[in-house]
């Protein structure tokens, strides 16, 4: 039995909220170092071209220009997940983002002016912007650094997975549905644009980076590889980060470029993206085509899924190429499924390359999967809620891929949203006419909830200290990127040590100080860093208990920690915590009140067939969405979103609401409005004017119902929550629109134009039939 909790589960505001809203937070953009120069990058004018020459002589003459570098000046290694990405391009440009040269100058204005003075002669080539073109025999090799280990020169990465007997299951199927879905490019649009400040010390040859990375320790290693340095000679400090969402999982070329400018000049250099640059040169969600064939037996049990995915990799390979790890989980293990065969291919093109993005492929997969479930239900004449409930995952299940659901709130999530949204009633009364048509849609999702072992360790270290004044410092490997992990960690320490929140400090921004952690991603931080902190607390308490027992003249260690005191549960005698710490320090045994702990989740690295229990626990969620479609304009308005999510345990309802609402709104954008439009490799809408990110006025009512399954692996039973809320939203919206209009939607975003086309298509179909 867990004792009654005092802080955990309460709506503690984010501890940095006041600092942020009052403008005191120090972002990378606010950093000013003595002697600092400003960097700027010249990008290619053409997405595919031979670079015949680069002439920087005029630019160098400009007063205030200190240094200009091109590929010829840089003795560096390629970067990227496949090491196929040169940080400065030599000989050819393959993508509109390509970095041709970089300038360091006394002011930003001079740096920009210098860019205009650099002369580059291009020989324009016909680029390749479709994956189908890239796969043709006649196509040239787009990335000359590609591994070349696949059957086609333009394949960057492939994944194959299967379980069960597909052919057998096909025979058992009463209905089989096959569809091809197309998913767009979406960009993170972080409020703080990408930034870095690099300071190389000529004397000790050490490099200090103020960087917004989400994964400082992997970044340190990647940077060292790029610059041919020792990782530990690179110190990474993270200023306040204005938005991550996965965009900062990869190290991008501008970062080692900025470091190089600092190394060359011996002065600090700062590089900050303009908003336009942010749209053009930061990563995106993978565009892909998903062919899904799925079957169902006559009772409504799902039989098999067969998936073929072609992803547009863009010109270089990032972490984004590994999204099939997550995508295949959704297909193999969301709802009970007897057989699954999965193939995905990432294909080089001259388009912008994708990176990682909240959900990591899962929103794409879930869209296809949940759309097809509706179609299967229609074929069977079965209720769309019933078919989902029948096939929902269950506690204790071990899926075909080897995921173990020790706890599982899938069914409860479904039941909750079906009931709260009045789903069945809405769906039944759907014969409507007139201009505005209403529809409801359902979708679920499965995501890792206890980290994801895709690196050798999925662990996190903590160093915990209590000082002689009774204040506590948590030095954690994990990072804060706005999600509130500092607050949750402080709450855990407060709960366990009985120290009030204002006496707890979280130190988490400096690789020279903090212990190792793999980074913020996979919704892992509260789970992994929380468990790591609990481990350290347990060790520290052994020391504290010993001293407290001595001071309270008792020989048991049955203590309660509250109100900054250690209280004997037997006698009710108590002693102030700070006093215990002072006695530890200043008298025998003269030791510090410090403990450290490294937590490694119980998850397993998957085998070469991608089988194994990859996460410490799994999160489930269902959403029901009500939409109103204006058949005059094609506009879809989301009226209500019902969210039920298996969060394990609610650690902080306020922060949880923030994650849910933010995720849902991002999901609505993905469903309806957000798309980075490209033509022949160029981005057509690099601004908020035409990249339609939603505003506060567009946010519908979001009704959230947490489902608590108390997973024994999680801190207090909690699971990861960060990505889940975004994942099923687009699928549920698409299902709702199809329900309203009786049409099929195979593509996101569902723009007004596509809605009108779908309605027109349907009318045409009907008249043809008559």
């Amino acid at each position: 039995m867990i004792k009654k909790l005092k802080i955990i589960g309460t709506p503690v505001p984010k501890h940095d909220a006041a600092i942020r809203v009052s403008g005191r937070a120090i972002y990378g953009h606010d950093i000013v170092l003595p002697g600092m120069l400003h960097g700027a990058i010249l990008r290619t004018e053409h997405p595919s071209a031979i670079i015949e020459f680069i002439d920087v002589s005029e630019a160098k003459k400009l007063s205030g220009v200190i240094c200009i570098i091109t590929a010829d000046d840089a003795d560096v290694n390629n970067i990227g997940y496949k090491r196929d990405h040169p940080i400065l391009k030599k000989g050819e440009a393959n993508c509109t983002r390509d970095e041709i040269a970089a300038v360091a100058a006394e002011t930003k204005e001079i740096a920009r002016k210098a860019l205009n003075l650099i002369k580059v002669k291009y020989k324009i080539r016909k680029g390749i912007y479709e994956t189908s073109e890239a796969l043709k025999e006649s196509a040239p090799q787009i990335n000359k650094f590609s591994s070349g280990k696949f059957e086609n020169k333009n394949i960057a990465e492939k994944f194959h997975y299967e379980h069960g007997n597909i052919e057998e299951e096909k025979k058992k199927s009463a209905h089989i549905i096959s569809r091809k879905f197309t998913l767009p490019r979406m960009t993170h649009a972080c409020m703080a644009s990408s930034n870095i400040t690099a300071s190389f010390n000529n004397i000790d040859k050490k490099l200090l980076l103020y960087s917004s990375t989400q994964v400082p320790f992997l970044y340190q290693r990647d940077m060292a590889h790029a610059l041919k340095m020792n990782p530990s000679d690179i110190r990474v400090i993270q200023p306040v980060i204005g938005g991550g969402f996965g965009s900062k999982l990869d190290m991008h070329p501008f970062e080692p470029i900025c470091a190089l400018l600092s190394i060359k000049t011996g002065r600090p250099v700062q590089l900050i993206y303009s908003r336009e640059e942010e749209f053009i040169a930061s990563p995106i969600r993978q565009p892909m085509e998903i062919e899904l064939t799925a079957g169902v037996d006559k009772k409504g049990n799902f039989t098999f899924r067969e998936i073929n995915i072609v992803k547009d990799n863009g010109a270089y390979t990032s972490w984004g190429a590994t999204t099939p790890f997550v995508i295949m989980q959704a297909f193999s293990s969301l709802y009970k499924i007897k057989a699954c065969r999965f193939n995905s291919t990432a294909v080089y093109t001259n388009n912008v390359f994708a990176g990682s993005f909240r959900g990591y492929g899962n929103p794409q997969a879930t869209f296809a999967l949940e759309r097809v479930i509706d179609l299967l239900a229609d074929e069977l004449g079965m209720d769309k809620a019933e078919i989902r409930l029948l096939n929902a995952n269950e506690k204790g299940e071990a899926t075909g891929q080897g995921l173990h659901y020790e706890t599982c709130g899938h069914k409860e999530c479904l039941e909750t949203v079906i009931k709260k949204s009045n789903y069945k009633q809405h769906a039944a009364h759907n014969r409507q006419s007139g201009r505005f048509l209403h529809g409801t849609g359902l979708a679920s999702m499965l995501h890792v909830g206890g980290g994801a072992k895709i690196y050798r360790s999925d662990g996190c270290g903590t160093i915990l200290k209590i000082d002689p004044y009774g204040y506590c410092t948590i030095i954690t490997g994990s990072n804060e990127i706005g999600q509130g992990s500092e607050t949750v960690l402080a709450m855990i320490a407060s709960e366990e040590l009985g120290i009030e929140l204002k006496k707890i400090k979280v130190i988490n921004t400096d690789t020279d100080i903090k212990p190792w952690d793999v980074g913020v991603h996979a919704s892992r931080t509260s789970f992994v860093a929380g468990n790591s902190l609990l481990g350290a607390i347990k060790i520290l308490k052994v020391k504290l208990n010993k001293k407290a027992a001595e001071l309270l003249k008792t020989n048991h260690s049955n203590f309660d920690y509250s109100d900054n005191k250690i209280i004997s549960l037997k006698s009710n005698d108590s002693i102030a915590l700070d006093k215990v710490v002072r006695e530890m320090h200043f008298s025998e045994p003269n030791e510090l009140a410090i403990a450290d702990y490294f937590y490694e989740p119980s998850s397993k690295f998957q085998d070469k067939n991608f089988k194994g229990n990859v996460s410490g626990t799994y999160a489930f969620a269902s959403q029901a969405v009500e939409v109103e479609v204006d058949t005059y304009t094609g506009n879809v308005r989301v009226l209500n979103v019902y969210v039920a999510q298996d969060v394990g345990r609610v650690l902080n309802p306020l922060l949880l609401d923030g994650q849910i609402e933010g995720g849902v709104v991002q999901g609505i954008g993905y469903a309806l409005t957000e798309e980075l439009l490209m033509k022949e490799g160029k981005i057509l809408n690099p601004n908020f004017h035409n990249y339609k990110m939603l505003t506060a006025a567009d946010v519908p009512d979001i009704h959230f119902f947490p489902v608590e399954t108390i997973d024994k692996e999680g801190p207090y039973g909690a699971k990861g929550v960060g990505e889940a809320s975004l994942i099923p939203t687009a699928a549920a919206i698409a299902n709702a629109v199809c329900n309203a209009l009786d049409v099929e939607i195979l593509e996101l975003p569902i723009t007004p134009e596509k809605v009108l086309a779908a309605i027109a298509g349907k009318k045409k179909l009907k008249t043809e039939k008559i």
Partner: protein, 289 residues
């Protein structure tokens, strides 16, 4: 880029400044919400900006009611239009258009004059004013005022009939007809977002009916459907004498066709021409539904 700024405090000083810079590269800045974006895109060397926002005269930035109607100074902000009860009650089309513009923050500084002089086909306030058949006062450095009907004010895409020595000083909208009993007046803005959205297609209408429900005056203008905002005259004429509530399906469609005849939309990143036409037709019909 760098530019000089001049800050006249009165109309007199303003006219003097305009006169002084006749031979130079100068521009007016009102709320600067269009102007700054334009400068960022196309920087202009040796530019002087005559800042209109410090001119204190009520004639230039206030609002005045008279028997003839309502007169707005060119510097009246979108926010002030939204807050005005008279406009809200008597000219809902203008209220709604101003309220649909950008966001609360932008509306604090964006002016009616700026919306007109930018001459964008998707100017929302300008479209509403076109449906109201507003009259524009162009003040020249000689101190003379030239009156131009709004439908002659726009000379083409982002072009007006303003001469280099003129500024738009005020805009008047005629009073509703005395015998008017009911007003059907609205601004229909089609776009993706509910705020911070530029019209993909828009329709402004202001229709007055008498005590029998008969249409006695009608104004309708279209935005983002042609190089300029356009007044749909034949569509308006078509309505006169008809009973608003009794408009038949066929008449609705005829009206919509007539509105559509003024449209010559383009395909751009925000929508195709085909979409714009289809939607304009649909929303024109919707007035009577």
């Amino acid at each position: 880029m760098n530019f000089e700024i001049i800050n006249p405090g009165t109309t007199k000083e303003l006219l003097a400044a305009v006169k002084k810079f006749q031979k130079e590269n100068f521009r007016f800045g009102a709320g600067c919400t269009d102007f700054l974006m334009e400068l960022k895109k196309n920087p202009s060397e040796g530019l002087t900006v005559i800042n209109l926002s410090q001119v204190k005269d009520a004639q230039f930035n206030g609002l005045k009611k008279s028997v003839k109607g309502l007169r707005m100074g060119a510097m009246l902000t979108a926010h002030k239009i939204v807050m005005n009860e008279e406009i809200k009650n008597k000219y809902p089309v203008l209220h709604n258009a101003a309220e649909s513009l950008a966001s609360t923050q932008i509306r604090q500084v964006a002016t009616v004059g700026g919306n007109m002089c930018t001459a964008s086909p998707s100017g929302d306030i300008a479209c509403a004013l076109a449906s109201l058949q507003a009259d524009c006062e162009l003040l020249s450095t000689t101190g003379k005022i030239r009156n131009v009907n709004i439908n002659s004010f726009f000379a083409g895409l982002r072009k007006t009939v303003l001469k280099k020595n003129e500024i738009l000083y005020g805009i008047s909208i005629p009073a509703n007809i005395k015998s008017t009993k009911n007003i059907f007046s609205n601004f229909i803005k089609v776009g993706t977002r509910r705020s911070m959205e530029c019209s993909v297609v828009s329709l402004a209408y202001h229709i007055q009916t008498d005590s029998n429900g008969i249409i006695i005056k009608a104004g309708a203008a279209i935005g983002a459907s042609a190089p300029t905002i356009r007044f749909a005259a034949t569509a308006c004429d078509f309505l006169i004498g008809k009973k608003f509530k009794n408009i038949t399906q066929k008449e609705k469609e005829e009206f919509a066709e007539k509105v559509l005849s003024y449209a010559s939309p383009i395909t751009d990143i925000r929508a195709t021409a085909g979409y714009r036409k289809e939607v304009l037709f649909n929303i024109s019909k919707s007035i009577f539904e």
